[in-house]
Amino acid sequence: MAKCTIDGREVEFVAGTNLIEVAAKAGIEIPYFCYHPGLSIVAQCRMCAVEIEKMPKLQTACSTPATEGMVVKTRSDRVRQNQKSVMEFLLINHPLDCPICDKSGECDLQDQSFKYGDPYMRYTEERRTYLDLDMGPVIKKNMNRCIHCTRCIRFGTEVAGIHEMVAVQRGSNTEITTVDGRPLETDYAGNYSDVCPTGSLTLKDFRFRKRAWFLKKTPTVCEGCSRGCNMEIHQDANVIYRCLPRTNMEVNKYWLCDEGRFNYHYVNQEDRIVLPTLQAGESYQPTDWNQAIDQAKAVFNGKKLAILVGTDLTNEEAIQLQTFLPKQFGNAPVFHFGTPGIASTQDDAPADQILKRKSRTSNLNGFEKLGFKGFESLPAGIEAVLVIRGGRAEIPKFAAGVKVVGLGVFHTAENPGFEVVLPGTSFAEKDGTIVNFEGREQKLKRSINPRGQCKQLPEILMMWMNRGMSAGVAS
């Protein structure tokens, strides 16, 4: 392997790797703002400039690939002086509003200011200010905080495939904005906030809800579609505040779509049915677990039953059901369901040219591998249905008169008209394995405790079995 020397240490590298990455691998931090490993290199923030032997000028590490025998200094006086001066230039017009800025605590500009900046401020002129712009429902823009790194512009054109973020004006008046001030259109807009190294582009969804340092982070996988993008759930006191992408070069690189990012909302939504519930007229009546199970059994008693299992459940849950269902319900037909029109992985395909897949549930592939059949329509004569789902699989419409019991995550706003709901756990409240469209097994990790009286599937199944005899089911 080729070698170069960074700060006196010999470092191996793969040809073509830039100095920021080569140094990072050796544990040497070269600070930067405009560089992003998933975006093109513009070398314009100038923060990553380093000294390279035999080159008279400082060179930007982001745009310089390491070469055999190259001797690099990242902490020389000249390099430090440049870092100090870039920090000064970036901060002369940056508002000192960290105390009320959402990025505070996880802000590149703030962190690097502490590490590389000078606490003394020489700037006495009036600071530059911009008018605000509404960029639509996802992103809140605060141009005064912007350091013109253009990562957002590059994310839009290079990843999201839409040229909606632009730079207008010139020089010190440069403004990063949208074309004609229009709202953002991409359904990947949340990433604009992720790539922003300051508090210029923040998520409206997360704004002012929680300081970053209070958040507990759980690495998990998005359940929004069959890709299974890697992400982190950020929660505090059992409340999810946001989900952020987690880098996985083979699945989602650095990105997450808005649908996946904001999918978590249903977990905390107020109308989620978190207590065992009986139907009473148009409204739902909470009850206790025993009564609910008894009532469910009563509903099924003597009826011809079919069982629908959501492909938003985990492999572990699927296997438990494979044991449980025949024991309890004999040969009642079992189908998996999730996305209308996507009855099997054959029907699944990319939904855009970025990340999204047509199957809007995460474990279609897993269920298929375990031998579950896809739901298309109820067999003739079915009088009752048990719907088991994680929270995202789309419930089919049943003919009037078909009695339905729900097990899992449901919302009153869905108005499913079920006889009984046995509240289960969402993807954020359990551990488990899901299999994405390409057969990659990935782990869901529990980040919060189940809400209300919601229970894990095995516990509900055990309660069902222990509650008297199995319901008599017409064959």
Binding site: V42, Q44, L90, E125, H148, R170, G171
Partner: protein
Amino acid sequence: MIMAQQHEPMYIQYFNDECRPLSFYLEKMNGYAASKKAFGMSQDDIINEVKKSNLRGRGGAGFPTGMKWGFIPKQSAKPKYLVCNADESEPGTFKDRDLMRYTPHLLIEGMLIAAFAVGAHHGYIYIRGEYTREAKLLQIAIDEAYAKGYLGKNVQGSGFDFDLTVHRGAGAYICGEETGLLNSLEGKRGEPRVKPPFPAQAGAFGGPTVVNNVETLTAVPYIINKGGEWFSALGKVEKSGGTRIICVSGHVNKPGLYEINAGSMTVRQIIDLAGGVLGGKKLKAVIPGGSSAPVLTADEIDVIYDIEPLMKVGTMMGSAAMMVVSEDYCMVKLIQRITKFYAHESCGQCTPCREGCKWMEDVLERILHGKGREQDLNLLLDITDNIAGKTLCALGDAAAGPVASFVKKFKPEFEAYIRGEKHG
């Protein structure tokens, strides 16, 4: 337009309207003979002839033209391009305007030869947006050339195809920087690119590209007609061939274009050539190479006016735009105006230039308005240090160099403002 002595000048005698048409170019200027000759030469021979001529880029950087052409790969999967930088945006420069206005065919023929030498079949003249008249005149000349077979398919029966397009800029200084120009040409925001790749590797539309200044290209027909050695001999200092058109402006009695043999005169002699300082006043300063060149004091003007000698005294020849300042003009006002220009024209990509130029402008303006502080001068010098050499393109240096030189060389004038003895 005044001719200097010595050799017959190359351009300036043609700077009138009668010289513009193709007919004049063919009859009186041996027009399109050089290209015909070039078509009979090998590409390497042409490039070698240009190397021998010691022709150096006339846009400001002074890079040897033959060497630049030599960087273009012989084989390329993508089309190669020749781009003429006619943006002429450096304040004080107005030579390319007259070259295009009066001798457009010299430029077209120069481009034809250059394109043949590097194997480009499409050329662009990226012309400053403000030059509406010149853009029209160039188009007329190009149409003439197409009509007579000097452009287009199979030029002059040589089998070589060459198309030429005039592309008007939209009024940004930064589009005179070659990679900013290429971005603008491609319809993008006029921002310099990260180098490498250099234009010779990946320039316009990703193809290998030569970018040459107008005056550089107009020298090419002469070099092919009369030989590289002839051209080189016109230059009176080492490594600098041909003549130079100098744009003299400011406080002289006869501002205008002067053509001299490269390196044949000192700054002082050129001021004399332009009729001396306006109104017989004393000289205070000279900005020798466009507003981005560090200033010379009246004591420093006995330097030969050419690339290397000026570099040795810490300034540059740039685009040969000499601005003369007389004794009663305020240097603080002057540098404030120059800095305002660079702050306005900074593209805004690089942190030091975007923030630093405006900061310098603000500090200078404050000084000018009697609100200067003692530490401001050191602050200004610090800012120039933090900009110079730390940006993608040379605009940062262009802004920093003058400020540093003004503050260092005319410190008492700044101090007078700071002490409140003078007001803007």
